[in-house]
Every structure is written in C-alpha cells, then in structure tokens.
C-alpha cells in the first residue's frame, strides 16, 4: 500500500489511503476491511477510499434542499412503477451532476498517488450495517479497468448511483429507512492482472465444516466467476492436515481480463490447453489456504474472501529475486464475515456420557445402525 501523499491528508474527510481506512461508517465495509487487512500485513492492491463524507457532500450539492430524497421517501413500498420512476430520476441526477471541487480534487490526488494514470477498479463500499441491503447493489457497483482522473470521477458517481437502483430503493422503502442517513464509500484500487482469481471460505459453504478452507477459482479476473460466466474449479483443503480433500476441475470456457488504458474488461474464449487445467497448483492452494487461515485468525470468525493470484509479487522486490513463491503472489480483494452458516445454530454433535463405552452401547442400540 502506498504511503499517503501529503495532498491527501488535508482532505482526508473525502479520501483516505487504504491503510488509514478504519471505520465502516466512513470507509464502508469493504474499505474498512481492506484497510484492516493491509494493517494486518496481508497484501491488498494499493488504493484509496472515497469516504462516505464525500458522498454526503456530493449529494448535498445535488439535492441541497432534500427535495429529491423526500420524493424517494414518499413513494409507497408497493408502488413498483413509482419506485422505478423516482429511482431513475435519482440515478440520472447523481450520474450527471459535477462533483463538488473539494471532493473531485481529493479523488484526483488519491488517484495520482497510485501512479501515472494507472488502470483501477472502482468498487462501491456500503456503509449500511445490513449486508443483505448492500447485496442489492448487485454486480453493477464494481467497475474494472478504469483509467484517467475523469473516468475515475465518473465511475465514483456511478457507484453512488447504484444506491438508487430499483431494488435498493424498493428495499429501503419496505424497511422504511430514512434517505438522509444513506451514504456510500467507494474504493479505488490499482487493477491487478491475476493469473487466476476467485473466492474462498474458511469453512465449507456446503457443509459448514470449519476444519477446511474451500476455494473456488478460474483463470484471469474473478469477475468471470462472480458473473457466473464460468463454472470455477473448486478445491477443499484441510486446515489441520493440509490435505487437499476434494478437487473439482471444470471446463472454464471464458477468461475475463482487463484491457489496459481504461478500456474495461474483455471476455475471451479460454485457450483449449487451459480450459480443463486446474487454475491452481497444489502449492498455490496451500498458499491461499494459509492466507485464509491468517485472516480468519485475525478476525476470530470464519471469512468469505475474494482473492487473486498474480504472476509476480504485487510489490516487486528491490533486487532481482528468484521465482516468487505462491505466498508472495497472493493478493486479497475483500474479506467479510461468513454469514450463512454463522446464522445457523447447530445442535452439539454429542455430549459426554457417564462412561466412554456408553457411546458404543448407544450406537449398537440404535435401529438400523447396522444393515
């Protein structure tokens, strides 16, 4: 992560270097989590957060008297037609209006600190506690392969606008949430060019087993997986023994990769020789699992993680180094608490009995325990 440039500090209410992103209320869940990962020593792509304060300032400029927001609040939750109309109007305003100069310059200097017009990912980072609300933002809230200060500003506005997509507005109306409390942070990070990317869980998403790390991955950008464009390879590795207990290699038909210089993402057919080849070696699987375990230990709870595996370390060594180890090539794009299994309360598997042998007596006393 790059050090914060001097220019950013003065305007830190609008833009924060990732390493300084702490509060979800300011940096959004994604931004705060990336900040925490960075501080914990996990490699994340360099970047900065456009804070919730920037959104608030931006919206104040667009809707100084609050009329727009009042209009949203007045729509009945069941009136889908009106929601669509009002939401479209909001999106148009948010996308079209210029940013307040202080916000724009904070973003511009944050971007400048990332290098000479690099390609970046612009990702919305919800500040709402309720993660299911955030999930309504869907896939539109991440933009890959954006380059140049102007396009970055545009895409920050687009992320903001995603708060006004029909489903999100309908959801807020159903819950009767106040529009004035609404805010969103946006994460801007240098693009990575991964050899493979995907998601991993520090427990089995299928069975909830906490003794394994389950990894899904595909060639190129993880967006192919998130968008459902490919069936990913999947691997299960034991945290305790390090054994890879399951591997399912799929025919991965497409590769997403970003086209440099702000031309977005290309989708191409996977070369024949790569289609059915596993996208990870055993060493890479183990390296990912090790990072996953470290992150889980850091948070003290099972995690749902987005990862990418680069061809080279993200921060190139000062001196020419031998072949980089898999561990040096792992970067994380997100980590959040696993929610599905955490919400379930499983009954205890067994309780102790007066004598150990009572367990066996119980087993053989059960009907159909033996054909």
């Amino acid at each position: 992560v790059n050090d914060s440039p001097a220019g950013l500090c003065q305007q830190e209410s609008f833009a924060l270097p990732l390493a300084a992103a702490r509060e979800a209320a300011t940096a959004g869940g994604k931004g705060a989590s990336l900040g925490e990962l960075a501080r914990a020593g996990v490699t994340v792509p360099p970047g900065f957060v456009v804070t919730a304060g920037a959104f608030t300032a931006g919206l104040a400029a667009i809707d100084p008297d609050g009329a727009l927001r009042a209009a949203v609040e007045s729509v009945p939750a069941a009136d889908i037609g009106s929601i669509a109309r009002v939401a479209a109007a909001c999106r148009e305003r948010v996308t079209a209006a210029p940013l307040p100069p202080a916000v724009a310059s904070a973003i511009e200097s944050g971007y400048a600190a990332l290098g000479d017009g690099p390609d970046v990912a612009v990702r919305s980072s919800a500040t709402m506690e309720d993660s299911s609300a955030a999930s309504f933002a869907g896939l539109q809230d991440t933009y890959l392969g954006v380059a140049g200060a102007g396009p970055v500003l545009d895409h920050v506005r687009r992320c903001w606008a995603s708060l006004y997509n029909d489903e999100s507005v309908a959801y807020r109306r159903r819950l009767g949430m106040a529009e004035r409390d609404l805010a969103m942070a946006v994460v801007v990070q240098r693009m990575v060019r991964p050899r493979a990317a995907g998601v991993m869980f520090t427990r089995s998403p299928v069975t909830g087993d906490r003794s394994v790390v389950a990894i899904e991955g595909t060639w190129g950008l993880g967006s192919a997986l998130v968008a459902g464009d490919v069936t990913p390879d999947s691997f299960v590795i034991s945290k305790i023994t390090g054994e890879i207990t399951s591997r399912r290699v799929s025919a991965k038909g497409r590769i997403h990769s970003f086209i440099p210089n702000g031309r977005g993402v290309s989708v191409t057919d996977t070369p024949a020789e790569l289609r059915e080849r596993p996208c990870l070696t055993d060493d890479e699987i183990r390296a990912l699992a090790a990072v996953a375990r470290a992150v889980e230990a850091h948070y003290g709870a099972p995690q749902d993680i987005e990862w990418a595996l680069l061809d080279e370390p993200d921060a190139p060594p000062a001196e020419p180094a031998p072949e980089p180890s898999p561990a040096e090539r792992v970067v994380l794009l997100q980590s959040r608490p696993e929610t599905v299994w955490a919400a379930k309360t499983a009954p205890p598997v067994a309780a102790p009995k007066p004598r150990p042998a009572d367990h066996v007596l119980a087993l053989f006393g059960k009907p159909a325990s033996w054909i």
Partner: protein, 598 residues
C-alpha cells in the same frame, strides 16, 4: 428405460464350462428362492477369487464365529449374524438386522452389561486373549499327522495305549478344524466391539467435520507401535546385520534364497551369526502371509522366502548408502497428537470436546487389539493351519488318494474327512484306499472349473437396492456406502473409483502384480497395482510412488503404509488389476479415490 437395480440371485446363470460349480460347495452355501428378496453384496474384500473347495472353510467358520458373537454372545441389539452364499465360486454376503423395536430393547438389556464388561476391562482381557491365542498357536503347531507304519510301535503295546495310528488321522484332522474354529471365535471376541468404538468416533467426526477424510480419522486413531510393521522391521535389522558382519556381498539384486543361505553357511562364524538371527526372526515374524489368510495359496514368507529375499538387497544397499529409512515413530506420534488436538480445538462447546476425548480415548484403548489381532489370527495361526492341512494332503498323496499334497485344497473339509476314513479303513484292512480312483478326476475337474470361473466378472451386488444404507460399520468393514452402490449401478468407463486411502495425486507407469511373489519385478518410481496388500508387501513401498489395490478400506494395510510413506493410494477399486496393464500411464488421485488410465 431399463429398470435400475442388480440382478436377483436366481437370475445368475452358470458360467459356461463350469456348470458343475455347485459340486465344489456345500448345500448350505447355495442361494435359496427367498434370497431374491434381500440385498447381497460380493465380498471381494476377503474373497477376491473363486473359492477352492477347502478354502470355503475361511467363510464357513468365520461367519459361524462372527454371527455367534453378535447374535448370541454379546447379543448386539440390532444385528444377528452375517449370511453367506456362493454362486459361480464367489462369496456374497448380507447382514441380518433386528428391526422390531421391542426385540431391540430386549436385546439391549443383555448387550449393555456384557459389552460394558469388555470395554471396562479391555487391557487385561486383551492380555488374556494373547495368552489364549498363543496357546492355540502352540496347539496347532503340535498337531502331528500320523505316519501309518507297517506295524505300530512297541510302546503302543507295552504301554498298553491300545489305539492305532489310523485313529489319529481323523481325530487330528478334526482337531485342526476345531482349533481353527476356536481361533475365529477369539478373532471376533473383541473385534466387533473394537470396530464399534471406531465407528462411534468416525460418526462423530463425520458429523462435526463433514469434510474430514476417512484417512484423517484413521490417522488420529492409528497405533504407532503396531506389530504389523514388525516383519519388515526384522528384515531391515537383518540387512543391517549383514553389513555389520561383512556378509552383505551375498545380497545382490535377483539373489536366490537357497543359494544365499548355502553361501552364508560357508562363511564361518559371521555367516552362522547371521543365520542364527535369521532363524530367530523367522519364528514368528516370517509367518506373515502374503495375503489376508483367506486362501491356501496366500503363502507366508516362511513358505516362500522369495519376498524377503527380494527386499533384502535393497535394504542392504540402503544400509551401505546410509539411507535406510527408519519409521519416524516420534514424529508420527507428534503428528497424530497435532491432528487430534487441531480438530478438538475447532469444536465449539466443552461438551463436544469432552465427548471427543471419550471417544478418541476409547478408540485408542481398543486399537492395539484391532490392529494386532490380524498378525496372531490371519497370519501366524492361519499360516500354521494351512501348513498342517497340507501335511494331511501329503499323507493322502503318499497313500495314492491324491496326485499331490496341494490337491487337498480342492476338497471340502468333509471330503477330506471322507478320504481319511477311506485311508484308515484301507490301512486297517491291508488294501489300497479306493479314493485313488475316486478323487483325482473330481479334483482335475474342479481345477479346470476354477480357471474358468476366474474370468467371470461377478456383479458387485445382487437383489433389490436397499432404501437406506449409511451404515458406518458396513462402510468401515466393506466400504459399502450409498455412493458405492451408486457407482456399482453406474460404473464409469474411464475412471476407477475406490477408497481415498492416502492423499495426493501422481501420474506414473503402472506395474500390475497379481501376486506378491512378483515383487521382484517392480522398478523404482512405478505405481503398484495389486489385488490386496498385506504386511509382507511393506518392502516394496520404499520403491513405488503410489499404490492401487482391488481390495481394502481406509484401515487396510496398503492404506496405512501409504500414509506413512506419504504417497497417494487408492484401495478397494474392485478391478484395477483387470483394467490396468503393466506399462500403462495412470493417474492416481488419492484425494478423491479415483484412478484413471491416461
């Protein structure tokens, strides 16, 4: 659409050319019409080949003993015994459940105190068990096969014994069978309870950690100082001794046991010292069988020294090069503790941790028996048993009833008894026995039929598919699970499925060995493909890079040794030795339990 399912027992046609197979087996092993209503599976684990007539004793007696133990002795609440049937020479089995809740309850009341008594006194009972087993072994070793002299010895008269040698033909033969039966009763005496402890722990782990592999559960339980490793350890020690004594030059690749032993005898004191150590190691450790003790032709190292003398040159070379691998027992022990405490830590409640401790503790209490009984029963005793039966065969051959000693194994034990009656009568009457005209054509026909039956592919199961079969015991003993039944119904054409016995994926060249006596053929870095491995195969594990077997589960010998060597293994594939040829490039996936020819 064809209806899904397995053929019914009554639908199995006789194998052409072996229509007369029933003549080899007893009437009580034949499928009856009512058997069509039940689910049977082929016990390929214990009986991978067509049964020679005598060898059916290895089904008849064990199933008598197991059933007695579960149904009548401990009174297991939910199970009676296992039934077996033979069709086209193959052994099919089914377990007989108790389904009536009232009956289960009635049995449970008896079972609780009885099983509890064994668990509570396990260690001292196991000590007594070993004593009794050594006693049985001493008894079978002491049995003599009568010589049938022209005239009885003076002592029979002057000591007024009054009983002639022909009497002892049948008495001593019956004694062999009686001892074999007792051995099997003791074999099952503690085994079912021992497996029960394992199944309980296994089920717990599967529920708490649904993704845990069978092999990982096994690793938490497995003993470190297991006598199964002893024969191989003895061999390594003999290799070291050969180097120390300076007689190691005799152990060259391809050396022949008899020649080496002769040469050692000519090497003075050093040679003699090695021979003494060798003789000491042979009894009992070389009684280890090359199979699992269910066929007479699974010879022991003592019966055929090829296996140890194939391994010795490699071990000698390793000693010289200073690369002799010693089982890292401390490291294995540490690893076992690390894994167990790793899983324990992941349990969320103290109650679960306490239950885990109880179950694992019980497993480790019973496991020395579970792991070591095989050496006493299937190896040491059974080797002695088959040797003794072969001595009776030699007597019958001398009497002209059989063409050669080994032919005795083509007669059912009741037929051997008949032949001994014949010999007894003939010797008493002073005439040749009549069996010489009776048995040889029967035996020739049986040998021919067995060859024909060998090519039959037995269906993995017969009868209606059971609705539910998630039984952990059947899974552990025979690897029969719902998924396995599914793969039997829909066999993959390219991929062989088995039990993922040891993790890892490798590709390499296959070496298919039908018999352990062929282990001399294996080359460094090949993948071993074999019907079944027993402790006597251990020496080859230093050479190979993966192992595949037709038969076996996660606790089978091949699985355990492969895990120790850290090489991938898939066991219980059913027919890998038929589908793979030596020289094929294959991929062994020890994580998923699959083998593929590339």
């Amino acid at each position: 659409m064809e209806q899904e399912g397995f053929p019914l027992p009554s639908q199995i046609a006789d194998v052409p050319g072996a229509e007369n197979w029933r003549s080899m087996y007893q009437y009580f092993t034949r499928f009856a019409p009512d058997d069509d209503k039940r689910f049977w599976f082929y016990n390929s684990m214990h009986f991978p080949e067509p049964m020679p007539a005598f060898d059916t004793v290895t089904a008849e007696i064990p199933y008598s003993a197991i059933g007695a133990n579960t149904a009548r002795l401990f009174v297991f609440p939910t199970t009676l015994g296992i039934e077996h049937r033979i069709v086209n020479g193959r052994v099919y089995i089914t377990a007989n459940p108790v389904l009536d809740p009232a009956e289960i309850g009635r049995r449970a009341e008896v079972f609780g105190p009885r099983a509890g008594y064994y668990f509570e006194n396990w260690d001292s009972l196991y000590e007594g068990w070993k004593e009794r087993m050594r006693g049985l072994i001493a008894e079978i070793e002491a049995i003599t096969v009568p010589e049938l002299p022209e005239w009885e010895d003076d002592s029979v008269v002057f000591e007024a014994r009054g009983v002639a040698q022909n009497h002892y033909l049948r008495e001593n033969f019956a004694r062999c069978l009686a001892l074999y039966s007792k051995m099997w009763h003791h074999h099952t005496e503690m085994l079912m309870l021992g497996y029960g402890a394992y199944v309980v722990f296994f089920q717990f782990c599967m529920q708490a950690f649904p993704e845990i592999s069978d092999q990982t559960v096994a690793r938490m339980v497995a003993g470190i100082d297991v006598i199964m490793y002893r024969p191989d350890d003895e061999l390594r020690a003999l290799a070291r001794l050969a180097v120390d004594l300076g007689v190691d030059d005799l152990f060259t690749e391809g050396c022949v046991a008899a020649d080496v032993l002769d040469a050692l005898a000519a090497r003075g004191a050093a040679g003699q010292q090695w021979l003494d150590a060798f003789a000491k190691a042979r009894d009992p450790w070389f009684h280890v069988s090359t199979g699992d003790g269910f066929y007479h032709h699974h010879l022991s190292w003592n019966d055929d020294l090829t296996v140890p003398f194939t391994a010795l040159p490699g071990y000698v070379a390793a000693v010289r090069a200073g690369t002799m691998r010693v089982r890292p027992t401390d490291q294995l022990r540490e690893e076992r503790e690390r894994i167990a405490s790793g899983y324990r830590e992941l349990l969320t409640t103290d109650d679960e941790k306490a239950a885990f401790d109880q179950m694992l503790g019980l497993c480790r209490l019973v496991f020395p028996f579970v792991e070591d009984h095989k050496f006493y029963c299937e190896h040491w005793f059974t080797t002695r048993f088959f040797q003794k039966i072969k001595e009776f065969g030699a007597l019958l051959a001398r009497q002209g009833v059989l063409a050669e000693a080994g032919d005795v194994f083509h007669l059912h034990h009741t037929e051997v008894d008949q032949a001994l009656s014949d010999v007894s009568l003939a010797w008493a009457a002073g005439t040749p026995p009549l069996g010489g005209a009776h048995f040889p054509p029967i035996i020739a026909e049986r040998k021919r039929m067995l060859k024909v039956l060998r090519d039959w592919s037995p269906p993995p199961a017969l009868g209606p598919v059971p609705e539910a079969l998630n039984d952990p015991a059947v899974r552990m003993l025979w690897g029969v699970t719902q998924e396995r039944i599914e793969s039997w119904l829909h066999p993959s054409t390219e991929e062989m499925r088995g039990v993922a016995a040891s993790a890892g994926v490798v590709e390499g060249v296959a070496r298919v060995l039908q018999d352990v006596n062929e282990i001399g053929e294996i080359r460094e870095g090949e993948i071993l493909v074999c019907p079944v491995t027993a402790p006597s195969w251990a020496p080859v594990f230093g050479k190979i890079k993966a192992a595949v077997s037709d038969i076996g589960g996660a606790m089978s010998h091949a699985a355990i040794v492969a895990r120790e060597y850290g090489m991938p293994a898939v066991v219980g594939t059913g027919d890998a030795t038929k589908r793979i040829r030596t020289g094929d490039r294959i991929r062994v996936d020890g994580d998923r339990g699959t083998v593929r020819v590339l």
